[in-house]
Amino acid sequence: MVSDQLLKPATPEERRRYYREEWDVKDVPEFISNSVQKREFGFDHMGRGPNHRYKVFRNMDLLRKFLRYRAPFAAYSSVAFYEKPQRRDGWIKSELVFDVDAKDIPIRECGCEGVCEVCLNQALEIISSLIDTLKGDLGLKDIHVVYSGRGYHLRLFDESVMTMDSDVRGQIVQYLSGAELPRNEYAAEGVTYKLEHFTIPFGYPQVFTDRTRYAILHLTPETQLDEVNQKLLKDVIKNRELLEDNQWGIFRSKIGPQRFQKLIRSIASLNMALVDAKVSIDLKRILRLPSSLHSMVSMKCMEVKNIETFDPFKEAVPKFVYERKS
């Protein structure tokens, strides 16, 4: 068992070993290698943040040599494609990205300090529900999942969204994460009808229902929610199993309509933190390079081919970790 050797920072010697003995340029996903000339690269050599920026590589072999030779603390590449990446000029388009960091999940069952198996698993569950919405509602394709070392990145290469601006990306985040309270009044022919989100089994109301149910089912007695006092939280936890088979109507009447409204309003603002919106709306962000080493936790950042079976503690642990002396 290697658990006590895991998640410790890598030494410079371990970094060198990783890039020389274990890392292979073929591990860099094709979505990077086929656009290497258009991207800006960034490196962190000392563990003080990626301040070596504006780096460009004409081909993968130069990137290979650089990583072998420098064995950086961390390596990044831009989500943006540029005409002149060395000046971050001539922006062409950017991947649409979503960053789910395990330590920032708004309601964590584990309550651990950093990241652990439980919250990483939770992050993967969230990623999988985001993918469902991206495909089913938004009809987007060409989606890649990357294990970042402390969570997951979703990277989209669907041409129809790559030129969209920050505002639209912000709205996509809201849609996916269920961060906006769906309207509950609909008018037709001058008459207004009340329709709760859980009575509409498609579109955004459905997404909101799913995310909200997920949040409520993961609440712990310690969870802090604006507008939700201890009494309400207790009642929610007591009655929440109704939601497991979608008995929202009964759940709502047990809680009381006013308090229900408070609850979902509060959950909506909490949902906003499911993904890091700052990452999604930043058209020039640099993201950790898949295949590179996350030296802080000694884990490989890597593309996840099958999210059903992926286990970071099996697949993303570099060899040198197993050889550490305890």
Partner: protein, 450 residues
């Protein structure tokens, strides 16, 4: 029934790309008649409800006139707050449909041939068409509107309306992604599609009724409006491509195109630097005394962490709009920087220096470690992602409107130190206008003797 008593709305009145409209074009005879005094047209115009006929200038005498009036209507409506719609009532008169469709095609062809798709004239044509459709829809009875929307929707193929086509509507918040009913990337508008693909999921509810509730008229109208604008744009490109292969364009079209340019040049000359006496706020040199607390904080310089957002997303839109277009929220029309500042003199001499100074005062100075952020400043003023501000790039990005107070609280909470004026406004720019008026008033009253 003669043609003056038609009371049904022809779909061509709203959609110039409908079969009905194409039929009108096919049946229209000789192009040379568009210059001839047209008695039928004049009669329709002068008999339009609430039409002002006191000034002969306002009455189009032939189809060529009508075409120009369509553009003039849009430009005046957009730039002149005292726009008098009674001078153009005939444009809302459904009985002019036949002439209107011909005028539309003349305009598009003239503009495409002379200026091509990436011109100011083309942009105005597309926007004018969108606005005209919107205004005409607003005049219809609800039942007529529904029928027209239904007819147009039926001509679209189900699954044709991808949400990704409407990035600009989303970006400008005219529609919200969460308000659309989406399935497999399509915006659900068509009733049959809804019934077939989503309706069955509903329990204990009548799917037909749910369709009426969930897929509102407003969304349909916006989407259709945008699609017609898109088709206008595509058609301009198409005509332009074809015209490149022709030797000599029709002189009638070239003349019409020149007249369009003339109309566009008029308002630019009068809008911008005039003093206003009607309560509207014109572009004028900045008065820093009237800046809200949040702007003052940024001008003093930000610490590392919030620098980029404060300078790029917050300050740049605020300063540029405060200087050039303080009335943006009240007038609710989109302008470009060069519409107000055609030589970019205010941009170069007043706006950028102020922003650069604020960037310089940051710790560490923003451009010292992130010189590329200058490009983002240009982008936020609509000049694309380029290191220099140049007119040819204008429009590649949008001129960002100033963040609302709500957004400031979300993104830059440290800036929000409200004073008593803040309580009554929702946007830092409104604060500026409010304080400007107050200051003017204080000045005026303090100058009074005694």
């Amino acid at each position: 029934m003669n043609k003056y008593s038609i009371c049904m709305v022809n779909v061509a009145f709203i959609n110039p790309f409908s079969d009905e409209a194409r039929q009108i074009v096919r049946e229209y005879g000789n192009l040379n008649t568009i210059y001839q005094e047209n008695g039928d047209l004049i009669q329709l115009v002068t008999r339009s409800p609430s039409q002002d006929i006191s000034d002969e200038e306002t009455i189009p005498h032939n189809i060529m006139d009508l075409a120009l009036k369509r553009i003039e209507w849009y430009v005046k409506k957009k730039n002149n707050p005292e726009f008098d719609y009674r001078k153009y009532s005939y444009l809302y008169n459904r009985n002019i449909t036949n002439f209107d469709v011909i005028a539309f095609y003349l305009l598009v062809q003239a503009i495409s041939v002379k200026f091509g798709p990436n011109s100011r004239e083309s942009r105005v044509m597309v926007e004018a068409q969108g606005k005209l459709m919107e205004s005409r829809m607003g005049e219809l009875l609800l039942s007529e509107k529904r029928e027209i929307l239904g007819t147009i929707l039926n001509t679209l193929l189900p699954g044709e309306v991808k949400w990704t086509m409407f990035a600009d509507l989303l970006s400008s918040r005219k529609i919200k992604l969460t308000d659309l009913v989406l399935d497999q990337g399509n915006i659900i508008l068509d009733k049959d599609y809804f019934m077939e693909n989503l309706g069955y999921k509903l329990e204990h509810r009548d799917p037909g009724k749910m369709y009426d509730l969930l897929i509102g008229d407003k969304i349909k109208e916006l989407i259709i409006n945008r699609m017609i604008m898109q088709k206008t744009e595509d058609y301009i490109s198409e005509v332009y491509q074809k015209s490149q292969r022709q030797v000599e364009p029709n002189p009638i079209l070239l003349e019409l195109a020149d007249n369009v340019t003339e109309i566009l040049n008029q308002p630019m000359a009068t809008y911008g630097y005039r003093g206003g006496a009607t309560g509207k706020v014109e572009a004028s040199p900045l008065n820093q005394e009237a800046f809200p607390p949040c702007v003052k904080i940024v001008l003093e310089g930000m610490k590392s962490g919030g620098r980029n957002d404060a300078i790029i997303l917050f300050l740049t839109p605020f300063i540029s709009y405060a200087r050039l277009y303080p009335d943006v929220f009240r007038r609710n029309t989109t302008l470009r920087v060069s519409d107000v500042d055609p030589e970019l003199a205010a941009v170069e001499k007043e706006i950028l220096p102020l922003i650069y100074e604020a960037a310089e005062r940051c710790t560490p100075p923003l451009f010292e470690d992130q010189p590329q952020e200058k490009v983002n400043i240009n982008a936020k003023m609509g000049f694309g992602m380029h290191s220099e501000i140049e007119l040819k790039h204008e429009g590649e990005t949008t001129w960002y409107t100033p963040m609302s107070c709500e957004k400031v609280k979300l993104h830059l909470p440290s800036l929000c130190k409200p004073d008593k004026t803040c309580k009554s406004i929702g946007n830092p720019l409104s604060y500026y206008i409010r304080r400007l008026t107050d200051l003017k008033y204080e000045e005026a009253t303090s100058e009074e003797p005694g």
